[in-house]
Amino acid sequence: MGVLTALLRVRGLTKTVGQGRAARRVLDRVELDVQAGELVAVVGSSGSGKSTLLHLAGGLDRADAGTIELAGERLDGRSERVLARLRARHVGFVFQAFHLVPELSGEENVRLAARFGAHGAQAPARVAALVDALGLRPVARSVPAQLSGGEQQRFAIARALVNDPALVLADEPTGNLDAESGAVVLALLRAATRDGRAVLVVTHDAAVTASADRVVTLRDGRLLCGER
């Protein structure tokens, strides 16, 4: 592991969902640092707040209290426009259900994300390079319905990486895949950290936790830290 700097810094993060009697605190004063080049796995039972933490860390949702600092910039209290810019520049997402746009080919899904990044004229070359690097060239022109789950997730990873984000947030990236495809995806995420990226993975997959630099556990909204 290279020199570690706190790329993601979370302090006192609190989030409640529901209202009135149905209100439930899913995150309770969570503190977390993720360093550049680190792969951190977040585990916990269903409803423990794992995905909520991921969404807040990526600026997809707003916390009730606490601060989030990403690459030196505070996310809390920012406008939607600023959050969009920060996401485009610093964050890549990988979802369990892939979430590819069904009408676009795999490569076009990657290209769509590249429109929001800072690569400009180099974007097409960057997209092509990623598609090649991930071994997706033979199916680059296929739409998601024609792709296997593993192929779809590899395109999703290419999409997440296309803008060179500092932080990759992955929500159960192997949850819908067989063991072999899961291993490929995990290897890609692991490889992403070698370029100095941080990867925060929510998972139930033992293979992922085994590969992570650090595993943290969420229980009843509280983070129990563990160091590998």
Binding site: G49, E103, A113
Partner: protein
């Protein structure tokens, strides 16, 4: 039912949203039903209310006994009443006055008018009835005093409605009724009074032709000034406002179609959002029919109160303006009779909602239950789009993904836009008719009072290029006496003075030839080469060879252009104003002054209906308002279409936002979706207007003439700009809504 109500209680926000869409649609349907029904049936109601005679005949003054002896012999006549009509009488009341009033002296029998306030003329002295239009325009009430030249002050006993003309002030002459007894009290009672109006009621109105044929020899020798049938009256009223009535009815149909499509789309979206729930119901053992029935019932339960409220509100909104317009036309508002069409509209709305929910539910439940349980409501496409990854093109693809809904939106919007184009074209035409006599091919700029002996003197006035006597003769077709027509006759060639565009054939060259207006050609099936047999109101039958058919608006296109020579043989005193065409560049005012100096009273020629100039302006304004209203319906339709697209593609939009897409990018995407609907809708509208609606409405509005109802450049620019604005507003609104919710919510987050 109880289960459905429970289900709906749990989904209050969605229920409220669906109810609001239904409310908006029902409001539009309520307005259109009220306006359409009120205007479409106003004339018949008024005719019934006023006991309108089947024939109204105006003669030169004649003793009642002499006239009665002739009319009694007519077949098919069951009742005859007589009136004495005195024109150019001074009337004054409530600070208003005129010297152009008409007093109808009523000689007992059936009235031919209806009393809509107060009571009828009876044995009491000093009473008068005023026409509804006069009462409205002058602010008169029952009990007020009205001064009549020669009769003095009379008390207004009631307000009368008759439908032999449009209402004052649209009709230039205010009319009042007094009893013959009242006149007798002032001037002495006559045993055999002089009358000039006869009202005839027929046993079988369908056999009017027979009665009119027999009337010709029966009234021979009497100078007949007007023979007005019910159909003729209807045409006269339509001439004043037929264009607007027809278009308002068209507007009603368009608004109802748009509302129906909006409702169906909303119901469809609601069902598709619940695809996973439907899957669960199916997995638990519910049959397709049960699931479909539940969805239809849910939708109807939501729509029923909202539709009732919307229809009521729409009817209340529209009934006031509709009644005012009907008042202009001497027609009657529908009152309680409106409940029947509103009830039908209510049933129709609920049927659309039920079908809008049932059909997609039927479609959705055809899919495998396992697929439904996964919650996807769109079949994943297996074909890549060529658009690439540009947001606007992706938006276009999103909009067209649901082929049925997209086509429905395109058709609904296309029809609405075509109607807007049409309405604007008619408004432009009305303004042109008001301001520019040339629109009708009229080339003479002035008319001068005089006879044919004055022609040389008029022609000698500086600035006058040509002058000829213009004679108009009221007549009927000899074979179909219910078809009234107007002959416009010049001593020489009529083309220098008025040259209505030739539709077919050629210009007339001799006294035995005529050109006919296309309204008449349509009514009688006339073509160049055919023969027209004319029966002038006074005079014997004349036959002409039809050599041309022209576009004409005057008298609904029921005109005949002829030379006056053959008419003068029967009536050497045949007169009419002198039409004056000016030299190129001559100033009309200068020529008018020169004519006055030469002893001639001249006046400027205007459009088709000089007396209706202000009304034409009002109609044009009403039409442009209607166009704006339809434009707003378009805006609502495109906004809803985009909202549905954004809702369907909520996850894709959230995904773009997660990747850093700004609101502007979403705006561009949704703008692309709007363009994918609006551009084909505009193309469809242009074709529809040019090929179908324009020609149909031109005939419909005219019974008339076939008018060139095509939008001009300004109209097209206004519509195109309006659509661009509507698309932009709708896209920005949908983008704003889409960016309001947290990205995580759009991604279908499950807390875990």
């Amino acid at each position: 039912m109880r289960r459905a109500l429970t289900r709906l209680r749990r989904e209050r926000r969605r229920v409220l949203a669906s109810a609001l869409v239904t409310l908006a649609a029902a409001l539009a349907v309520g307005v259109s039903t009220t306006v359409g029904y009120a205007l479409a049936t106003g004339y018949e109601r008024a005719a019934q209310r006023s006991d309108q005679p089947d024939v109204l005949a105006r003669f030169a003054p004649v003793r009642r006994s002499a006239l009665d002896a002739r009319l009694r012999r007519l077949p098919n006549v069951v009742r005859i009443s007589y009136r004495g009509e005195v024109n150019r009488v001074g009337l004054a009341a409530n600070g208003r006055s005129t010297r152009n009033g008409a007093v109808h002296i009523v000689h007992g029998g059936r009235r031919g008018y209806g009393v809509v306030a107060g009571h009828d003329l009876g044995s009491r002295s000093g009473e008068v009835l005023v026409e509804r239009g006069v009462a409205t325009a002058w602010g008169l009430r029952v009990g007020d005093e009205l001064r009549i030249g020669g009769l003095g002050a009379l008390r207004i006993a009631g307000v009368a409605l008759s439908v032999d003309n449009v209402a004052f002030p649209l009709a230039a002459v205010p009319r009042v009724y007094v009893s013959a007894a009242e006149v007798g009290r002032r001037f002495g009672r006559e045993r055999d009074p002089v009358v000039n109006v006869a009202l005839l009621w027929l046993a079988d109105p369908g056999r009017l032709d027979i009665t009119l044929s027999a009337a010709r020899p029966a009234i021979f020798g009497l100078r007949t000034e007007q023979l007005l049938t019910r159909r003729g009256v209807r045409q006269a009223i339509d001439q004043a406002a037929g264009v607007v009535i027809a278009l308002l009815i068209v507007f009603g149909v368009v608004a109802a179609a748009c509302a129906g499509a909006m409702l169906a789309a909303a119901a469809d979206a609601r069902v598709r959002r619940r695809a996973a729930v439907l899957g669960i119901e199916r997995a638990l053992g519910a049959s397709r029919a049960q699931v479909v029935g539940d969805q239809a019932l849910d939708a109807v339960l939501i729509a029923a109160p909202a539709a009732a409220l919307g229809l009521t509100a729409g009817a209340l909104l529209a009934i006031g303006p509709a009644t005012t317009l009907l008042g202009f036309l001497n027609e009657v508002a529908p009152g309680a009779a409106l409940l029947a069409p509103l009830a039908a509209a209510y049933t129709g709305l609920l049927a659309v909602v039920a079908a809008g929910a049932a059909w997609p539910a039927w479609q959705v439940t055809r899919r495998p239950i396992a697929a439904l349980l996964r919650g996807g409501d769109l079949s994943p496409p297996t074909r890549r789009i060529r658009a690439g990854a540009r947001p606007a093109l992706l938006g276009a693809r999103f909009a067209t993904a649901r082929r049925g809904r997209w086509l429905g939106s395109v058709v609904v919007l296309g029809v609405a836009i075509a109607t807007v184009l049409l309405v604007l074209a008619v408004a432009d035409l009305l303004v042109a008719l008001r301001d520019d006599p040339g629109t009708l091919g009229r080339r003479y700029a002035l008319t001068v009072t005089g006879d044919r002996s004055d022609l040389p003197a008029v022609r000698a006035v500086p600035g006058v290029a040509a002058a000829d006597q213009r004679t108009t003769i009221e007549a009927a077709d000899s074979f179909s006496l219910t078809e009234p027509l107007r002959v416009i006759a010049y001593r020489g060639d009529h083309v220098p003075f008025e040259a209505p565009p030739l539709q077919s054939g050629r210009r007339l060259r001799s006294a035995g030839e005529v050109e006919v207006g296309d309204g008449l050609a349509d009514a009688l099936g006339l073509r160049p080469g055919g023969q027209l047999a004319l029966q002038p109101v006074n005079g014997r039958e004349l036959r002409f060879r039809v050599v041309g058919v022209v576009r004409a608006l005057e008298n609904n296109g029921r005109v005949v252009y002829a030379r006056s020579a053959r008419f003068e043989r029967d009536d050497p005193d045949l007169g009419g104003p002198i039409a004056v065409r000016l030299d190129a560049g001559a100033d009309r005012g200068d020529v008018l002054r020169a004519l006055a100096a030469a002893g001639f009273a001249g006046r400027a020629s205007a459009g088709t209906t000089t007396s209706n100039r202000s009304f034409l302006g009002i109609l044009a304004t009403v039409l442009r308002t209607v166009a704006l209203a339809i434009g707003l319906v378009c805006l609502a339709a495109i906004t809803q279409a985009l909202a549905l697209t954004a809702r369907d593609r909520r996850r894709a939009l959230a995904l773009l936002r997660a990747g850093g897409a700004s609101r502007h990018t979403l705006g561009a995407l949704l703008g692309g979706a709007a363009a994918a609907v609006l551009l084909p809708a505009l193309a469809f509208a242009l074709a529809l207007e040019r090929l179908v609606l324009g020609p149909i409405v031109a005939r419909l509005t005219a019974d008339y003439a076939t008018l060139p109802l095509h939008p001009g450049g300004v109209g097209l620019a206004v519509v195109g700009g309006g659509l661009a604005l509507a698309g932009t507003i709708a896209a920005l609104a949908a983008a704003r809504t889409a960016t309001r919710e947290p990205v995580a919510t759009g991604l279908g987050r499950a807390d875990g």
